[in-house]
Amino acid sequence: MTATQAIRTVAQGEHPPLQRSAEERRSRTRQRRTFWLLAAPAILGLFGSFVAPLLYMVRMAFNRGSSDGVIEETFTLDTFARAVEDPYYWKVTLDTFLMGLTVAVLCVIVAYPIALFLMRSQSRFKSVLIALAIAPLLTSAVVRTYGWMVILGGGGLINGTLIDLGLITIPLQLANNFTGVIIGLTEIFMPYAILAMMSGFGKLDPRLEEAAGSLGANRIRTFLKVTLPLSLPGALAAGLLVFVLAISTFVTPRLLGGGAVRVLATEIYDQATGLINWPFAAALSILLLLLFGAMIAGYQALVRKLGIDR
């Protein structure tokens, strides 16, 4: 139907037909085809590199493994039963969760003032400061972990200094335990936390703080009443990101933990490469995935409860 026809139909008091014209339908089909063509590489890539291995992993968890590395193709819940029944894995899971939570909380606390400062800075060197804050990302986590081993170790920088100063005689146990891993992870994930918060702080208009000030709020009350509530979504998102990164990281717990720190990631590694028990490693991986899911659900419930998704 041409435009003139349409006008005439309306003018005559008839309703134009609700059906789409053939031409319109053809153009819609064409649009849809373009969409799938453009999305195809990404979908294929994602399927091949992520979805398929994940499905394979899920299937693997239902096989039966043994300590001699033989994988029996079957369909059993043995692996899950073992993970659930053995209190050791409950402890590992709990430790993983607590480590992730501690690192996330510490990281947010340490990175928050930095992110706020970088957001607010009027300095000419602002971009340089931001680059400096995220520069550690240029070095691999492995190298930085070794750095922390040097700093935190028994004869390391901190203990050496404290002993030289005569403050302590026996070195503090800073490495090869959870303390070391948490210190290391907090520093390693700080740049992520800073970046996540800076993007999350977008709505934080300095005018709002000025308005609070003009209405009689001093700096502390302005922070508590205005800055903090408005920056909370960014801080929470950063916390979630760090938590997810922390519970899935393997290198730092392994190296800085010195074998004493047992979390899901190190456990999965040991099962998969040391004991070649792939089915059990797969089951533990699913456990880790569930932990992710629980955390994300918890995060969303929290966001909704605080009403900050508005």
């Binding site: 308005a211 609070a212 209405l215």
Partner: protein, 367 residues
């Protein structure tokens, strides 16, 4: 005589050494209950001045005195100013009632009293029914009213408005103008109002401070500013203006408001009359004639200045002419009812009553 509420004493702000000051030794006195507009082009220092009064910015030098008390060093949260920001700056995480209650909460007003005051303030801006909405759910005009209620509910020492109407559409701006003015009159809040819109300033203000380059060019009533500008900048910035240089000849009488009537000689054009302050005889001065005060007749007529019509613009209500008189292109505006529309290139004679031309007291600045 009314009391002086706010005094600015040589108030200066220089953002960086070596840079021209944004506000330069500003002196101003604001009377209790007045609405004063700080008017000027962007970068003239009007917002800087307001922010210094609010306490959001430290002056480089000078003093701010409110009710006889020097508050230059008082931090923002102890000044008790009510500020309305250009972007309104409503707290997005609080509903309308909580936004308005914020200042009362900071002053530790009792809860029940808070509720009552908030209700009154919202009723005043006709938003009582939207108390539980969030700022995001309000229109621009409504947000503006909330911001106004939030600033007024604490009975501020001064109400400070930073371009409060610039984010509204033209029609709403007119309504809000009247409304802000009537609320201001009712509450009697002494108000400083920053704007770059001369209509707004003329319409709303008791006094206007025209600012330019960090200085106050003129401080006076809207009529003063419009009719008796002191400088070429003010004459040009406020309303439409014909400005040309003339030699002021002998005084020839006294105007109705006591000004001196001078004969003026416009080089290459002819002589006419204008009024001005006493003692300007024999000087070179700029003369201001508003376009709608010029009378125009077609053809060369005796007793006026004759020129050629270069352009005619018809806008329905009015006819605008551009008439070439020597080096001067005179803008003239007449009601369409005055007669037929002349053609370009025709001759026309212009004249004005002595009272309609004003000799600026400012000396002609060397170009």
């Amino acid at each position: 005589m009314t009391a002086v509420k706010l005094t600015l004493d040589r108030l200066t702000k220089q953002y960086r050494a070596g840079l021209a000051p944004a506000v330069d030794r500003l002196d101003m006195e604001v009377e209790e209950g007045h609405l004063v507009a700080l008017l000027g082009p962007s970068g003239c220092g009007k917002t800087t001045t307001l922010r210094m009064v609010a306490g959001l910015m430290d002056p480089t030098a000078g003093r701010i005195v409110v009710d006889g008390r020097d508050i230059t060093a008082t931090p923002v949260h102890e000044r008790g100013m009510g500020m309305v920001f250009q972007s309104y700056a409503l707290f997005p995480h609080m509903d309308v009632a909580a936004n308005v209650a914020f200042g009362l909460q900071m002053r530790r007003v009792a809860k029940s009293k808070q509720t009552e005051l908030v209700r009154n303030a919202l009723d005043m801006v006709k938003l009582g029914h939207l108390a539980s909405r969030h700022p995001k759910e309000l229109s621009g005009g409504q947000q503006q009213r909330v911001a106004l209620a939030r600033a007024l509910v604490v009975e501020p020492t001064l109400l400070l408005l930073d371009e409060p109407l610039s984010n509204l559409d033209a029609k709403l701006r007119e309504t809000m103008r009247t409304e802000i003015r009537s609320i201001q009159r009712r509450t009697g809040a002494t108000t400083l109002f920053v704007t770059h819109d001369q209509d707004e300033a003329l319409d709303m203000a008791d006094r206007i401070a025209v600012m330019n380059g960090g200085l106050i060019e003129q401080f006076g009533t809207p009529a003063d500013i419009y009719e008796r500008p002191r400088t070429r900048f003010v004459a040009d910035f406020i309303g439409r203006a014909n400005l040309f240089e003339a030699s002021v000849a002998a005084a020839s009488g006294t105007g109705s408001k006591g000004e001196t009537v001078y004969r003026i000689d416009v080089p290459g054009i002819g002589t006419s009359e204008a009024i001005g302050e006493a003692g300007l005889e024999g000087s070179q001065r700029t003369v201001l004639v508003r376009p709608h005060r010029v009378q125009v007749e077609l053809g060369a007529q005796p007793g006026g200045l004759t020129g050629t019509i270069e352009n005619v613009s018809y806008t329905g209500d009015a006819l605008g002419y551009s008439i070439r008189l020597g080096d001067v292109l005179l803008q003239v505006e007449r009601h369409t009812a005055d007669g037929t529309i002349p053609a370009r290139g025709e001759q026309a004679t212009v004249r004005w009553a002595a009272e309609d031309a004003y000799v600026l007291p400012e000396e002609v600045r060397a170009p």
